[in-house]
């Protein structure tokens, strides 16, 4: 291989791109569009994580105990809670503490609470626990409700759960979308290279008789695919740059509540990602096409 002039292969690849200019442009546009969608999605997810990261802390469950329980039984339940997996912290609030809290919350009416003191206290003893894994919170809720002596379990899942499921939903959509785009791009490149091979099949045949190795025949086509990917990556980067900066400006100047990554902070990742994914997609698509269309 080293004896071959690399410029020959690059030259051949460019010639072929030029000769099939319609297919070349079509595949570059499609691959670039895929990359832009992919990149926008990735940036969106990154921004979301930036904003939603801290909200996961509200993982709390309130446990109401049966008022009939004596202190030993309450202690017993506390131990059970400690032994459960996914239980992170445990806080006990006795009914007296509960009443006191309430009295402070409603200080203007504190006199009224006199009637609820001692035996008349209507509040139950309570545990507040936090959990580690939000996806298993409902399981935990069920397990808690099955424990003897617990009268009521309130899971404040709402927001935490919504955020979490939104995130995982996004990730799922993103993954599928990515897979789909990848398949489409590969397919387009397979066809482009197929046409390129087809238009040179006589030439390739003669090259074989002359004693050309498979590497010699195949390299220009692989390069052709990689170049398509490289161009697509470059174009996608420029488009992404424009799009993202546009949105970034709106967010920064008008919706100050939301935090976003600035393009100037992430451009290296975007560029490197686009060029790498583009080139790899091109080269892989081309290899698949050659395996199918060049029975060497």
């Amino acid at each position: 291989m080293s004896r071959y002039n690399p410029f020959y292969f690059i030259g051949q690849a460019f010639k072929s791109l030029w000769r099939n200019s319609v297919m070349t442009i079509a595949s570059i546009l499609i691959l670039a569009s895929c990359l832009v969608v992919l990149g926008s999605f990735a940036l969106l997810v990154a921004d979301l994580n930036l904003n939603l990261g801290e909200l996961g802390l509200m993982n709390e469950i309130a446990i109401y105990l049966d008022p009939e329980l004596d202190d030993a039984q309450v202690e017993e339940i506390g131990k059970t809670l400690e032994s459960m997996s996914n239980v992170d912290t445990i806080t006990f609030i006795s009914k007296e503490e509960g009443l006191e809290e309430m009295r402070q919350d409603y200080a203007e009416y504190s006199d009224l609470f006199v009637i609820a003191e001692g035996e008349a206290n209507p509040l139950p003893d309570m545990f507040y626990i936090t959990y580690a894994d939000v996806t298993k919170a409902t399981t935990l809720e069920y397990q808690l409700s099955e424990i003897e002596g617990i009268s009521k379990v309130i899971l404040r899942l709402d927001l935490a759960m919504q955020i979490e499921s939104f995130k995982s939903g996004m990730t799922l959509v993103f993954t599928w979308f990515l897979a789909l785009l990848f398949v489409v791009s590969i397919f387009v490149i397979i066809n482009t290279i197929k046409i390129a091979v087809h238009s040179r099949r006589n030439e390739i045949n003669v090259m074989r008789y002359i004693g050309a190795t498979r590497t010699f025949i195949v390299t220009p086509f692989i390069l052709e695919g990689a170049l398509i990917g490289l161009f697509s990556g470059t174009i996608a980067y420029l488009v992404e740059w424009y799009l993202y900066t546009y949105i970034e400006q709106i967010v920064v100047s008008e919706i100050r509540m939301i935090e976003v990554y600035l393009f100037s902070e992430v451009w290296q990742y975007v560029l490197a990602g686009f060029l790498l994914i583009g080139t790899l997609t091109g080269a892989i698509g081309s290899s698949i096409s050659l395996r199918r269309n060049l029975n060497a």
Binding site: R3, Y8, R208, I210, G211, A212, F216
Partner: protein
């Protein structure tokens, strides 16, 4: 040396193109291969080129056992051979010079050597003054001479020509045959498949006749019918 022992070739469509060919061609020989259409001549050439594998039998060329050769060695094996086709198969968008140079480029010859050798070869085939022509600016005979130059470019030991004069008028055919003979005198083994009885009779060389996939005659002299 080319050696075939009981070589059979059955195509996937069950056509038995060769039914047990045993043949030996020594280094430096000149051999005509003749026979009726469909006799199996081209099939024999395709086996030599390792374009097809024999169904059974033994096929050894120089130090290469073609029945056992893995695919990745084929390219290097083919550099032992120079091929000429009836329809020339030149690269239409390359000049005469580039066509020959490309054959050398393909096998990794340094550019300086290519620059020296290509004009010399083209002189040998009498095209020293047409280096910059494109194939469609040449006569059939001239195109075939370019093809011959290309076949010679990498200095192969064996030249295989399947009906090299099939698309050329008779006077030009003689020129091509003379060239092939000249190449043979330079020490190369030359195998020429042909239909042209007059040429075969004229040159009085070894003639291998193939009929129905078998060698039916192998003599020095004319074409026996």
């Amino acid at each position: 040396m080319i050696e075939l022992q009981n070589v059979k070739k059955v195509y996937p469509n069950k056509t038995a193109a060769l039914n047990g060919v045993t043949l030996r061609i020594d280094d430096g020989e000149f051999v005509f291969v003749v026979g009726h259409s469909g006799a199996g001549k081209t099939t024999l050439m395709r086996l030599l080129l390792r374009e097809e594998k024999p169904t059974s039998g033994k096929l050894i060329i120089n130090d290469f056992d073609l029945t056992k050769m893995p695919n990745y060695k084929v390219a290097h094996y083919r550099r032992q051979l120079g091929v000429v086709f009836q329809d020339f198969r030149l690269f239409p968008n390359k000049t005469v010079y580039e066509n020959v140079a490309f054959a050398m480029h393909v096998v990794g010859t340094p550019a300086s050597k290519i620059r020296k050798r290509v004009p010399a070869i083209l002189n040998t085939v009498g095209l020293g003054d047409k280096l910059n022509r494109y194939p469609n600016e040449l006569s059939g005979g001239e195109q075939q001479r370019v093809a011959l130059a290309r076949a010679l470019a990498n200095n192969p030991k064996i030249i295989i020509a399947d009906e090299p004069t099939g698309n050329i008028d008779p006077e030009m055919s003689i020129e091509i045959m003379n060239l092939l003979l000249k190449i043979n005198r330079l020490g190369k083994t030359v195998i020429v498949v042909t239909h042209e009885k007059s040429l075969v009779d004229y040159y009085q060389q070894r003639v291998v006749t193939i009929e129905h996939g078998k060698v039916t005659e192998d003599k020095v002299g004319g074409m026996f019918e």
